[in-house]
Symmetry: C2
Subunit: 86 residues, 2 copies
């Protein structure tokens, strides 16, 4: 791993880790009132785009971070649709 | 702008735009109860790292996106510290 990827990996761990408690909190509380579905959809498409960009730029850090965040943001969309009806 | 950067720029606009309503909402409502300061600090350091990584990887899309998000996440930290006392 070169020194550029060490910085990228640090960035990946920090921003991915900061996102996970939101997913956990939403899963536990089922409170999706403060989440906006259009915003979650835009964010999900954005993360998918970052993932494709990371692959095209040969960036292991971006591929790692965005693979996890694609799943996290998909789960938030799913929770919003599932629990938002109540 | 090459085709890789078009995908990156799309990603940058989508994820940055998805973040701005949170900043606006927090600024208007002054409600920071659901925000965690340690998480905001980790996220801010993460975004600064992504910005450095973007510079080192010569990625205009990452520099653009993370320059805006550095400011957004700094504002959220500031609001949390300022309004969190009440």
């Amino acid at each position: 791993m070169d020194s550029i990827e060490i910085i990228g990996f640090l960035a990946a761990v920090l921003t991915t880790a900061a996102f996970l408690p939101q997913v956990y909190k939403t899963w536990k509380t089922k409170d999706v009132s403060s989440l906006s579905l259009p915003m979650l959809i835009l964010f999900f498409i954005g993360i998918v785009s970052w993932l494709i960009y990371g692959v095209l730029k040969n960036s292991p850090s971006m591929i790692f971070a965005n693979s996890i965040t694609v799943i996290s943001s998909f789960l938030l969309m799913y929770f919003k649709i599932k629990y938002g009806k109540n």
